[in-house]
Amino acid sequence: MKLLIKGGRVIDPESRLDKVADLLIENGKIKDIIKPDTRNPIPETRIIDGKGKIVTPGLIDMHVHLREPGREDEETIKSGTRAAAKGGFTTICCMPNTSPCMDNHVVVEFVKSRVEKEGVINVIPIGGISKGLDGKELAEIGELVKAGVRAISDDGNPLMDAGMMRRALEYVKGFGIPLISHCEDINLSKDGVMNEGYMSTVLGMRGIPSASEEVMVAREIILAQLTQSQVHIAHVSTKGSVALIRDAKKKGIPITCETCPHYFVLTDEACKDFNTNTKVNPPLRTSEDVQAIKEGLKDGTIDVISTDHAPHADFEKELEYDKAPFGIVGLETALPLIFTELVGKSVLSLSDALSKVTINPALILGIKKGRIKKGFPADITIIDPDLEEVVDVNRFLSKSRNSPFDGWKVKGIPVMTIVKGRIVMEDGKVL
C-alpha cells in the first residue's frame, strides 16, 4: 500500500524543513518528499488531501502509564495505544510501575507480545532501575536492554539513596541509554497533596514544597556530572528546577528534561474546588512556575513535552482529595493543548513545539524516529491547525476519565495518525 499526502505543510523540526509538499510513503517508509503536483498519478496509491493541514513526524510520548499488566480496569495496552493514536502519537514509552513491574525481561517480553497483538502504535518499554522499583538492588539492566527497553526509571518511586543512584548511573552508561529520574525527596513531600504555598494555606491542605523536586534535581545534576552518564529529568514543574537544569546544561553536564502540558497550562488555583482530577505528582504549581516552564521550553532548557498519562479508575478519583491517587490522563489532550497554549499564544514556533514531541525525545531515547526524511519509518501525524474541539472525557478512548481539561475549548486537532505507513487513526476514529 502506498500513500501520497498531497499539499500539506510538511514540517521536519530536525532539518528545519517547513514547506508545502507531497509526501510519498511506500513499504512503511518515507519514499520521497516532492514538490506538489509534480508527479504523475502513481497506481495503487491512496491519495490523502493535506491541504491546510500540518504534516509532521509522528508524535512521541516518552512518559506513559499503560497499567497492563495489573490494572487493566484503568488502561490496557489496547486502550492506551488507541488513545495515543487518537492523540496523534505514533510512539509511546511505557513506564515500568505495572503489577508485576517491568524490572525483568520476562515482563518486558509480555508487554511486547501484547503490543504485537493489540497495540496500534509503537510502544517502547522503560525498564526498572531497581528490582521491585524499591531502590535497593539493581535490576538486570543488561537483560532489560536486550529485551528492548530504551531507558530505565523507577518512576513514581523516587530513588532516595544517592549511593544507589550513583551506581545505577555508572552501570547504565555501558548500555548508552538514559536514566529517567522522578525527582522527589519523599521526606520533603511527605503526605502532601498539592503545591505548598498560598493556595494550600487557604485550603488547609498539606503542601508539597518546590524544594522536594529541586533538591533531587540538584542531586541528579551533581551525579550526572560525577558519572558522566545521561540523566533525563521527568515532569519538571518548578521555576527552581528549570534554573538548575539551565545552568547544568551550560556547564555541559549530560542532562535533559521534560515537562507536561498541565505544568504549562494550570496552576494550583485549579485545586480550589477540590476536584481530584487536579491532583497530580508533582503538583500543579504557581503562575510564576508556569511562566518559568514556558521560558524553559522557549530557550531549550526543557527538551521534551511528555504527558505522564496516568489513568485512574473513577471510583478511586471519586474520593476525598487526600485519599485520591495522584495522576491525570493526557494522551488525548496533549497536542491540542500544545497548539492552543504554546503555538497559539506565541510561546513557541510550530517547529519548536513539534520538536519537543518528535525529534528531541527520539534523540534522547536513541531511536530512529521523529524525522521526515527519506528512508525513515513512515510514522506521520497530520494535524488540522484550525479545527476546534471541546474536550469531552466521555469520548476518550482511554479507559479512564481523570482529566482536569474536561469542557475546555481547544484548537489544533490530530486528524490522521500513520504508523509504519499504515493509517491507524483517521478523523478521530482509530481503525
Partner: protein
C-alpha cells in the same frame, strides 16, 4: 466569587454554609445581627420556638466531637427540628468507601440540613455540589470551621461593640487549625487587624498574603492586643519534629498572667475548647475575668440556631 448580595440583606441566599472565605461581609453581618435575637431566646424561661418543626437535621460526624455536635443538637432542638446523630467510627472508613456512600446515605435520609465534620479538607464542598440538602461545615480537616469563626466574632462583638480596628492575636498551631483559618477569613473581612503567633513550623506558608501579621515571639505578638485567641495544641495531629516537646511549647507560647500584662487592659482571652490547662493557657488565666471561654460556648448555641434558621430560608430578623 461572591454571590449577588442584597445590600440591605434580609435573606441569606445560600443553600450551604461551607466557610467564611467566600462570604461577603454583608452576609457575615446578617448572621451576627440575627444571632442577637437568638441570644435573647436563649435567655427566655422557655427556650423553644417552632421554626424548624417537621425538618430533619443530621449530624454527620466523621471525627469525634462532643462540643460542636452537642451545640448543634441543642440549637436544632430549640428550633423544634428532628435530629439524628451519626458518628462514623474512624475504623470503618476504608479505601473506596466514604464519599460516594456518604452522598447516597444523605440522599436516602432526605435530611433538610446536614451538619458534617470530616477529617479531610473539601468534603463538605464536594457534598454540597452533589446533594439537595443544606450542608453546614462543622470542620473539614485544617480548612474551615465557619460556625466557630462566627461564634468568636459574635462574642468579640458582644464585648467590644465592633470588630473594626481591633488587634486580634491567634496563638498556637495555625498550620493545622481550621478555627484559625475561619477566624482569619472572617475577621479580616470585618476590618480587624489579625496577627498569628507560634513556632515557625506551625505557621502556614504565605499566610501573610491573607493580610495577617506573623510573630514568632508571644510577648511581641500580644503587646496591646484587644483579643488573644488560643488554639488547642492538637497532639493527635502533630507530625514529628514540628516542635520538640509540649513543655518547651508552654515555656515559649503558654499564656500566663505575667505575659498578659503587655496586652490591652481589657483584653479578651478566648479559646475554642477543649482547653489543655497548663499547656496553651494557665488555669489562672483561663478562669480570670479576661476569659470569655464560657461565653463562646453559650453563644455557640445562638449562632448555630441563627445559621440553621437562615439556611432554612427564613428572614433576617425574628
Amino acid at each position: 466569587m461572591n454571590e449577588v448580595v442584597d445590600v440591605r440583606l434580609k435573606v441569606f441566599g445560600r443553600k450551604d454554609l461551607l466557610g467564611l472565605q467566600d462570604l461577603h461581609p454583608d452576609e457575615i453581618r446578617l448572621i451576627l445581627d440575627t444571632a442577637r435575637s437568638f441570644r435573647e431566646i436563649s435567655e427566655r424561661p422557655i427556650k423553644k420556638v417552632p421554626t424548624l418543626r417537621g425538618k430533619t437535621l443530621v449530624n454527620l460526624f466523621y471525627e469525634p466531637s462532643t462540643r460542636t455536635r452537642t451545640s448543634f443538637e441543642i440549637a436544632a432542638k430549640r428550633l423544634s427540628a428532628d435530629i439524628i446523630n451519626i458518628n462514623v467510627p474512624q475504623s470503618s472508613i476504608v479505601k473506596g468507601e466514604g464519599l460516594k456512600d456518604t452522598v447516597k446515605t444523605i440522599e436516602a435520609m432526605e435530611a433538610s440540613i446536614v451538619v458534617i465534620r470530616h477529617g479531610q479538607a473539601g468534603v463538605p464542598h464536594i457534598l454540597a455540589h452533589m446533594v439537595k440538602s443544606s450542608i453546614i461545615n462543622a470542620g473539614d480537616g485544617a480548612h474551615e470551621h465557619p460556625t466557630q469563626g462566627l461564634i468568636d466574632m459574635f462574642t468579640i462583638l458582644e464585648k467590644k461593640g465592633s470588630l473594626e480596628g481591633l488587634r486580634i492575636v491567634i496563638v498556637g498551631d495555625i498550620l493545622h487549625s481550621r478555627v484559625a483559618r475561619s477566624n482569619i477569613f472572617g475577621l479580616t473581612k470585618m476590618g480587624a487587624k489579625v496577627c498569628v503567633c507560634g513556632p515557625p513550623t506551625l505557621i502556614p506558608p504565605k499566610v501573610e498574603q491573607l493580610k495577617v501579621e506573623v510573630y514568632y515571639k508571644l510577648e511581641e505578638a500580644i503587646k496591646d492586643a484587644d483579643v488573644i485567641m488560643l488554639l488547642r495544641m492538637q497532639l493527635e495531629r502533630q507530625c514529628p519534629n514540628l516542635f520538640p516537646t509540649l513543655l518547651e511549647y508552654t515555656k515559649l507560647y503558654g499564656l500566663n498572667k505575667e505575659r498578659l500584662r503587655v496586652a490591652s487592659q481589657d483584653v479578651l482571652v478566648m479559646h475554642p475548647g477543649p482547653i489543655n490547662r497548663g499547656i496553651e493557657i494557665t488555669p489562672d488565666v483561663a478562669d480570670s475575668h479576661y476569659s470569655v471561654i464560657c461565653d463562646q460556648v453559650r453563644n455557640g448555641i445562638a449562632v448555630r440556631m441563627t445559621v440553621l434558621y437562615l439556611l432554612s430560608g427564613n428572614r433576617g430578623r425574628l
